[in-house]
Assembly symmetry: C2
DNA sequence: ATTCTTGCAAAGCCTTTGCAACTGC
DNA sequence: GCAGTTGCAAAGGCTTTGCAAGAAT
């Protein structure tokens, strides 16, 4: 299976206990089955613009690289990681392509702590985040009724909702423990 | 009544219909009654630090100016508006004081569209926002169960929640109508 | 051939910071 | 008087942009 199609696991209901984990310990939610690979979906988006856009090697590399993993990332990290993997993309192109991927519905963008972070939107269940202000980790969680909450709020104000960002700021359990340990040391 | 104590209206339950409006048409939620004025609350915060901090003229001007109105604002707008009102604060001081006001629980900070926006937290009910990507307006709305949603998500991950930011991105009704009108013109 | 994309470097924006002068407490 | 604060200007970090060369359709 190519990296770009590693998104076909069916969505399972249930708690975290059955979910996979990232290298940094973040829980990975089950993926959603989709008919098109991210790459195909992006090509479709590009072609159906009123002014058709082109699909380049750099864009292909980016889509494949991004969807071969499930981490949250920012532009800089992505560029570095790709370079380390032998794929070179200029900063300008990275930013321009990330914007297109968001518009195409493949990525979701979050602004946190002054930087922009991206994550999969296509082939991945809707969710929100707990953001640790100490270490920066983004912990995903799902809110069952969030769609209806948004729908109701929007309709009350004649607002057309396109996307949302729900981030709870605080301290993760690891950082909390670290802090307690530090306090103990400070007392010695 | 001095500007800094214009926060004593009791919290009323109910719909938008009875609420005041801002100069830009945003709905203003009813304020919450609080025992201390923002200025007093800030002084208390400053004094109770492990290393007591000072309350300066510039800080006083900022607190008074900010709490004399109810708009959402960013650092730059604040500095400009204050200067126009004859109150001068340097950029550096503005940023430094805004950070303290957030830490003191007087202001809430949101990152949106690459800039940081502030709004009252003290003396103002908890709420979330619909953000129009076309004109930038922040429409407030209240979600009844949001606290318990956050509490549950946090406890499931051993996370200590400090604050949250829930922003629905989209298009407000005014901009939607403007867009429709523009399309009609385009067809001519 | 035309039109879009890339890469580079420069510029843009917002925000933070070093430092000397200043000022609450 | 000591320790925290201010203002200036410079630096910082992230993102966007102008432009000439290159590539997709």
């Amino acid at each position: 299976m190519s990296p770009s199609t590693a998104i076909s696991t069916a969505l399972k209901a249930g708690t975290d206990s059955g979910n996979a984990h990232r290298s940094n310990g973040e829980v990975v939610l089950p993926t959603i089955s989709v008919s098109l690979s991210p790459e195909e979906k992006f090509r479709e988006y590009l072609v159906t613009r009123s002014r058709p856009q082109r699909f380049t090697d750099q864009q292909r590399d980016m889509v494949r690289f991004i969807f071969a993993q499930h981490e949250h990332f920012d532009a800089d990290t992505l560029i570095d990681d790709m370079k380390r993997a032998g794929l070179t993309v200029s900063r300008a192109t990275a930013y321009r392509t990330l914007t297109k991927l968001v518009d195409a519905g493949l990525l979701r963008r979050h602004e946190t702590g002054g930087r922009t972070r991206y994550e999969h939107d296509y082939g991945y269940p809707h969710h929100d985040h707990l953001h640790c202000q100490a270490c920066g980790i983004m912990i995903e969680f799902q809110v069952s009724g969030i769609d209806s909450i948004i729908r109701e709020a929007a309709s009350q104000h004649g607002f057309q909702a396109a996307s949302h960002s729900f981030i709870v700021q605080g301290t993760c359990s690891a950082c909390r423990q670290r802090r307690v340990a530090q306090r103990r040391l400070d007392r010695i």
